[in-house]
Symmetry: C2
Subunit: 421 residues, 2 copies
């Protein structure tokens, strides 16, 4: 045949059992977020390539699946001229476009939910897929930390719904990081490049970061100062950092006060006993962050299960005369939650009685089957119909494996008698 | 800037109000289908290009969005060599692949729901989009008309859930059409080409079909015989057709008996008074149909709102040594249902009380806001928080427009007093 029956490399398909769990996670997230006043919007999976190449998507832009031009538009030339569209690689870039396009009819303070697929041409590996579901909440229009607090509040409450409470919220502030980097002697315009290297700390360790900074060409004394500072704060509390800030004056007091307020408030509003940790080495990859950044980690996994922050300069880039539009988002790692629940052997709560009705092969049998099935369905029950197999006990076993809980074999002129499977 | 803030041509984005209606339609369909024993599966939006170019997708294959190869794989050459993947244009081709890939672990009779996006590079126009949601149910493994009947049953019940009951189920059989075409003198292997022309009857009329058949090169006498036959049946009942079949012997009696059984049974199982019409000119575009075909039409719209049929030869093409795998599907026109409900001014039933809490701007105010909001949320209520605007009545109006039903302005040391908006 020559036609592969597997999905394309790095893409997955989901059986009914898998979809059941994914939909349970999806609906739980959606319903919990809704209680906090967030409302779902949808953007298309495809965007114009110039939006997806604007730089806001960071490293993800390099992983874009590009769509070939169609018909006459397709002239063979440079690879950049072959594509006019791309598949979205995140939900933040499309949200910015959506907001710029619709802000006139949107509320002053808009609270968005987006749950949808994104695509990245990454090298496939465990827990890393080329099509994955992302799940973001964003507030646009709120400049105070009420945004950060409601996002943290909604996210931790949602995680609790899955029985997840053993996690740590790590928090930092990009302005603070920026100040520290400048304090160490780096030029202001180098800050974001330094952040990209710093962000690899988890993977390559502090010596790896040092090496890469030097290799990029930054001065030894600046690199050393930054590395020393990072190392010195690795096990220090926020209070110790604040005291040092008092001396060295990295950053304005107000920024620290907001940070303290968010940490205290997030802790006291949490229903579980939320652990909160100030982490000076937390960067979060994306270039667009401008203020508080945060992520949630669980003890048994190296990756974070949620992450986000404030990005006040991104949306305005698509809107004339709006240098700053307050925006803050928090994303739950949908695929990671599914993976954790699968590994925990989580069972989706059964929804309804599942009934199997078995009837005769002939037309009268089929007619009776449909009539009796529809009576149960009208009562809200789930019913599947099937004609009698030669081996009825094999038939019943097959449906038992699909989660059916009761059955009846219809016999001419006799009432339906449901039995437990 | 040069960056467009509108979605790409033919693609749509949806505000919270639009998503609310779409999700209502989505959930209603899903829940109703589930009662009939169908279970949701998911395939990736992207498939290998050779699957999507196998011919089973018919005319839709020409509308495929193709994905550019990545990295070293991209050598400039013929346009066919530039793409290795494509976006799915329907859910039936991916389902066939899914079944071929997973049949070993699937039940003998599998009942699938698929609701998902498909993409077609069509010329955009009202009601025709480049990204659209499709909504299919399929039974694989059931060779008797129990499949057709349960599909019709589930589909009409679902439409009734939306208050839609004024519609007609049109029905025909590809084997019968095939026999009629052969009876008129066409060669057996020309049948599917003749069907493609016949299928345009709705758009180009009987004289248009005649013209196109002649232009394609078929013999005048065969074309005339077919056109006469079609015209003669335009207002005839199925009984008259059956009587003529008795004389002329177009098709085996068994096929007609099944057709009669399905029509009678579908009518008697329907909760409304379902109109059923045998329509000899019904073709349904796709080449893969092999037996009964059907579609549902409403009086006020030219297009059908659901369509499907039996396709016993398609799945097996992807499975070694399986020339025939019984399969039958029915697809609801999701976008069309949404459009009809919008045009009817349909209101999604309100879900929960929506509460607005307004607090002071300062940190104490924010803290109180969060505490009181979380108390209501713990009771299952939907609460949004906001700091007091300068113009509070404007603030309340803004939230009223978003569907909020009650509010409270928090005052220091005073209990929360909810008021109707």
């Amino acid at each position: 045949m020559g036609i592969l029956t597997t999905p394309p490399k790095g893409m997955r398909e989901f059986t009914a059992e898998q979809v059941e769990l994914r939909k349970y996670v999806y609906n739980t997230i959606l319903q919990t977020y809704a209680k906090f006043g967030f409302r779902e919007i949808e953007t298309p999976c495809i965007e114009n390539i110039n939006l997806l190449s604007s730089g806001e998507g960071g490293e993800n832009e390099k992983l874009m699946f590009k769509i070939l031009k169609r018909g006459d538009k397709l002239k063979h030339g440079a690879a950049e001229d072959l594509a006019d569209l791309g598949l979205r690689f995140d939900l933040t870039v499309p949200l910015s476009r959506f907001y710029a396009n619709n802000h006139g009819k949107l509320p002053k303070i808009s609270k968005f939910i987006q749950i949808g697929n994104v695509w990245r041409a990454e090298r496939p590996q465990k827990g890393r897929y080329r099509q994955l579901t992302q799940c973001d909440i964003d507030m646009i229009g709120e400049s105070s930390v009420l945004a950060e607090l409601e996002l943290i509040n909604a996210t931790t409450t949602t995680l609790n719904q899955f029985g997840l409470s053993d996690f740590t919220l790590k928090i930092n502030d990009r302005r603070l990081l920026q100040s520290v980097v400048q304090y160490c002697g780096f030029a202001e315009q180098d800050a974001s490049k330094v952040f990209i290297i710093l962000d690899k700390l988890d993977k390559i360790g502090i010596s790896g970061v040092q090496e890469e900074l030097l290799k990029t060409g930054y001065e030894q004394q600046h690199v050393d100062k930054l590395i020393d500072l990072l190392a010195s704060f690795e096990n220090k509390s926020f209070e110790e950092f604040a005291a040092e800030n008092e001396q060295k004056g990295f950053v304005e007091k107000e920024i620290l006060e907001d940070l303290i307020f968010v940490m205290n408030e997030a802790r006291s509003q949490s229903s579980g006993d939320l652990r909160i940790e100030f982490d000076l080495s937390l960067v979060r990859g994306m270039g667009y962050y401008t203020g508080l950044i945060f992520e949630i980690k669980t003890p048994n996994y190296s990756w974070s299960i949620a992450g986000g922050g404030r990005y006040d300069k991104m949306v305005g880039k698509l809107m004339k005369g709006k240098p700053s539009v307050p925006a803050c988002g928090f994303s739950i790692g949908f695929e990671r939650i599914v993976l954790i629940l699968e590994e925990q052997g989580f069972q989706v709560p059964a929804q309804a009685e599942k009934i199997l009705l078995i009837g005769d092969k002939n037309k009268e049998g089929m007619s009776r089957l449909l009539t009796e099935a529809n009576k149960f369905r009208a009562e809200g029950k789930l019913v599947t119909t099937d004609k009698k197999w030669k081996n009825v006990s094999k038939q019943i076993d097959s449906y038992k494996a699909q989660g059916f809980t009761s059955f009846a074999i219809l016999r001419e002129d006799q009432p339906v008698e449901l039995k437990e499977i």
